[in-house]
């Protein structure tokens, strides 16, 4: 499809020093790269006049449990001009659980990144409002990690007395 090749060529032309990994499954394109280039690439994809990925649909993370890079941060972005959706992925290691925030590029990612921090414990540098989203502020764990049990840890959430 034209838009896919356009995106691939533009990325390769403008960032020839970064190594990308392109993959396709069920007619969807995903791009993987190193986490330190996140803000640069996102800014380019938003502001390039041919591409115009103005709508950031989703920011989330995947926990792989027993791999070297334990987490992967996933971004879904959409271009209204071409009606095309793209997925960006960046791997993160557990020992250095930080990534740069893209709130300077799209304002949507403010709450989405807070939710990712609440659920997985991944910290976002330069985030304007680093608080938890769903769980109470003094909750100590991160629920969506694979080592957190489904029924929770008894005593971690207080209940009022009868």
């Amino acid at each position: 499809m034209e838009t896919k090749e356009l995106v691939v060529n533009k990325l390769k032309e403008n960032f020839s020093d970064i190594s990308f990994e392109f993959s396709e499954f069920r007619d969807e394109l995903s791009v993987s790269f190193d986490k330190k280039h996140v803000v640069k690439i996102c800014k380019f994809l938003k502001e390039e006049p041919d591409l115009e990925f103005l709508l950031c649909e989703d920011v989330t993370a995947v926990d792989w449990a027993k791999r070297k890079n334990r987490f992967t941060v996933v971004y879904h972005i959409f271009s209204l001009k071409h009606n095309f959706r793209l997925r960006l992925k960046a791997d993160i290691d557990e020992s250095d659980c930080k990534v740069d925030s893209v709130t300077s590029v799209w304002k949507t990612s403010n709450w989405q990144e807070r939710e990712t921090y609440d659920m997985y414990g991944i910290e976002f540098n330069n985030h304007p409002d680093p608080r938890r989203m769903y769980m109470p502020e003094d909750f100590e764990y991160h629920p969506l990690r694979k080592d957190f049990p489904l029924m929770g840890i008894p005593g971690s959430l207080p209940l009022p007395k009868k």
Binding site: R26, S30, L54, L55, E57, D63, P136, F148
Partner: protein, 417 residues
């Protein structure tokens, strides 16, 4: 009136509230500002949303919404149950339009597994998705009118909604939270009396909708409370990620039924309603006009519905019919394998989104080849639309906050997951 103490509001929220940038100037500024808690339990029946406001007299200077009072742990539960078992849970996401969530989930799983439902099932799914959109917009309009003061409209729109719920009662046995779709089709065929009653409903719906609108459209009080309140511009709306009727009221013609058509929407003839003012009145008009477009779509679906099966015949991925399970051996074995071990789609990840009543409802799956998803993310439209709330209510009065929340129409079951 109880005084808000430090124990009620966490210090981090107060920090975010006082640190929020505010370019609001008031004519006669008071010396002190007040922090007011619009708590999780309040009569503007949009669920458990808490908004902490910083007020100067009656004008809102800054605000911080707090979610999480209905966080039920959907994504963690989805990692522990198979794709079939999760279908009743999707009903309770956006609990005012349950069938649309079912359709979205099932379409995403079918995309992952690489199967496609037969045409009659797809037409039935389109019909119920549009009926759901009508039901959801009726409640949205009714609740918005009730919040602003017009109590009669709420009872009239609920009366129309009861007719839709009676149709669903006959179709699938439940009035509400009906898990009607299945992977590979729908649970049972639409009976001829159901199709007749849907046709009767849409024939008399337009007049009743006109009656409700006549109470509001030229009402001086309604228009003054909604006109020019909560304006958001086109660029801000896209940047904040809003989708659905709220985005279309700001002039952006983005509807997933046109942009990335699913089911048979590319064969249907309907208009994408757009208004350009971006205020509460425009959002109300978009919803009222969308119900009429949905009626047009349902009429076309009823006229062109093909005959055929409603469940795909693929034993490894689709549950077989119950009568065959009880009498034939292979169907019994397939039923056992699918219920206990799941449908085992291939390794990979997909993201599929549909146009729900509130906006873009998307599901992101990562599959490792097992019967349960390794990760499931629900991209809910209410969550992202609510993010624009602090921008919208800055500079308005406290009673406008209620009108603005009503016009964005968040549903907390979806926003909190």
């Amino acid at each position: 009136m109880e005084k808000l103490t430090k124990d009620d509001v966490h210090p981090k929220i107060i920090e975010a509230l006082l640190g929020a940038e505010s370019n609001v100037t008031v004519d006669e500024a008071l010396e002190n500002e007040m922090v007011l808690n619009m708590g999780p339990q309040h009569p503007a029946t949009h669920g458990v949303l808490r908004v902490v406001l910083r007020l100067d007299g009656e004008t809102v200077v800054a605000s911080v919404p707090e979610l999480g009072y209905l966080h039920r742990g959907y994504e963690k539960m989805a990692e522990n149950m198979s794709y079939y078992e999760f279908i009743p849970h999707t009903d309770r996401l956006d609990y005012l339009s349950p069938m649309a969530n079912n359709v979205g989930w099932v379409l995403a799983v079918e995309k992952l597994a690489g199967i496609e439902a037969p045409p009659r099932a797809q037409y039935i799914r389109m019909m119920i998705a549009e009926l759901t959109r009508i039901a959801s917009h009726l409640v949205a309009i009714g609740a918005l009118a009730m919040d602003v003061g017009a109590l009669t409209v709420f009872l009239w729109t609920l009366r129309e909604r009861e007719k839709i719920m009676d149709i669903w009662d006959v179709l699938c046995g439940a009035r509400f939270t009906n898990s009607y779709t299945r992977i590979g089709g729908v649970a049972n065929d639409a009976q001829p009396e159901v199709l007749k009653s849907i046709r009767w409903f849409i024939d008399q719906f337009e007049e009743n909708m006109d009656e409700c609108e006549r109470l509001l459209n030229r009402n001086r009080i309604f228009i003054e409370r909604m006109d020019g309140v909560g304006v958001i511009s086109k660029e801000d709306a896209i940047d904040l990620g809003m989708t659905g009727p709220s985005l279309r009221a700001s002039g952006v013609e983005y509807d997933l039924r046109r942009a990335q058509p699913y089911l048979f929407y590319k064969d249907m003839n309907f208009k994408v309603i757009t208004y350009s003012e971006g205020d509460c009145l425009a959002r109300y008009f978009v919803r009222a006009d969308e119900t009429r477009e949905s009626v047009k779509i349902i009429r076309q679906v009823l006229d062109n519905m093909p005959k055929g099966d409603t469940l795909l015949n693929q034993p490894k991925k689709v549950l077989p019919k119950k009568t065959e399970v009880y009498s034939r051996m292979e169907e019994l074995i397939h039923d056992f394998m699918i219920v206990n071990f799941g449908i085992n789609p291939p390794v990979g990840e997909i993201y599929h989104a549909i146009e729900g009543s509130k906006g873009e409802l998307g599901f992101y799956f990562v599959s490792k080849g097992e019967g349960k998803p390794w990760k499931c993310k629900i991209r809910s439209p209410s969550f992202v639309n609510l993010q624009s709330l602090p921008n919208l209510i800055k500079g308005h009065m406290v009673s406008d906050v209620v009108a603005i929340i009503g016009s964005i129409d968040p549903i907390m079951g979806e926003a909190d997951k």
